[in-house]
Assembly symmetry: C2
Homo-oligomer: 228 residues x 2
């Protein structure tokens, strides 16, 4: 069984890990554990003590939090090349959010001890991690303002644009990432029926086209206007 090198890994290219030296990467390759996560399965769940970080080699997952009324709010989507669990690791707290696979995934787990060693000895690495978390904080603040001040329609338009810009399209032009209506509602923070209804409206006014689960953005300009 060969241990795949971290050096060529997509996560290495796009995340804080790009600051690691060859030596550090080798150390990481030796202590990491690779997992395959099936669509719908959790990588970790809210309240769990993770004791390390996860590198996403392949696939997309949703970060959710169960609210008091029993609905899952999707706080964030995370795609390949990114890392999970840094916040809990640094805060030394259990996970605040669950990470659930939206498609089949390949992830690597790197134990906390290893990461913290890099963190303490490699200044650029720790600065990178901090920048990532700072970026997350800015996004979270912005999203909070959206939730508080925008209508459901505006948030749906915004989310559709975000999905296209972040995850791209299939050959037929439809959004590459396919969410159930319930999940889409979970991102924008509304009832599933309201989300479905608004999608129908967008469809009727030819902002989007719907065929089954597939959604095609037909008039991005207008949709962007709607989202403001």
């Amino acid at each position: 069984m060969s241990i795949s090198k971290c050096e060529q890994c997509i996560v290495r290219q796009f995340s804080s890990l790009k600051a690691l030296t060859k030596d550090e990467l080798l150390r990481m390759a030796n202590c990491k554990t690779s997992y395959t996560i099936k669509k719908g399965e959790p990588i970790f769940e809210e309240g769990e003590v993770t004791n390390g970080v996860y590198c996403i080699k392949e696939g997309v997952c949703k970060m959710t939090k169960l609210s008091a009324n029993g609905k899952d709010q999707i706080v964030k989507l995370v795609k390949s090349g990114e890392m999970l669990g840094q916040r809990s690791m640094i805060s030394e707290e259990p996970a605040n959010l669950s990470a659930i696979a939206l498609e089949d995934m390949e992830v690597c787990f790197v134990p906390k001890a290893e990461i913290m060693q890099f963190f303490n000895q490699n200044n650029q690495f720790s600065l990178n991690i901090m920048r990532t978390i700072c970026g997350d904080l800015k996004e979270a603040d912005d999203q909070m303002v959206s939730m508080a001040q925008k209508s459901v329609k505006e948030r749906l338009a915004q989310t559709l644009i975000y999905l296209e810009d972040t995850f791209g399209n299939n050959e037929d032009g439809s959004l590459r990432i396919q969410l159930s209506r319930e999940e889409l509602a979970g991102i924008i923070g509304t009832a599933t029926e309201s989300c479905i209804r608004l999608l129908s409206d967008f469809n009727k006014s030819e902002l989007i086209a719907i065929s089954g689960k597939k959604i095609i953005i037909k008039n991005k300009k207008e949709l962007r206007k709607l989202s403001e």
Copy 2:
């Protein structure tokens, strides 16, 4: 004119600065600038390049963001002993939020160059800053879920409890921090009239007592139940 020492400062006791050595504190005392900010005035505003951090020696301020519809959303309240502007400093971006004094304040400005030096040479200091930002991120995520999933009534109850727990009471039992109805609405993310109306309801059902701007929490237990 005497330069007040940072050593005894409240900010030093409660913030990341507690990790600084005596020598570092002395350096900071020599490069800091002290300001008095009057109630209602900004410490800095959204989009401004701050080039340093602010230590809050005295007073409370609101962190706001102007939304597309022209309303100010209050993202967070910050009180004496805390620091402002770390996120922008680390991200090397302009401020994402405005900081406006809710009461007369005393703050000190410490230039970025100085902070980054501590940051690079003092591991515990940088870890402390990171923990602070990680804490902010967790709070922001949680608040986002509240905004998305809770009713205005629940959010008002939650906010009143938060205000008492965080800022305490005056001798007469009223909330120490006094917000206008508009500001309170800006925290919970609703229209000012809706906020006023719900306060009236809470008053009628004897959860709180209102006299002018003063609010007294009379039935915290019930209020806490309402907030869930």
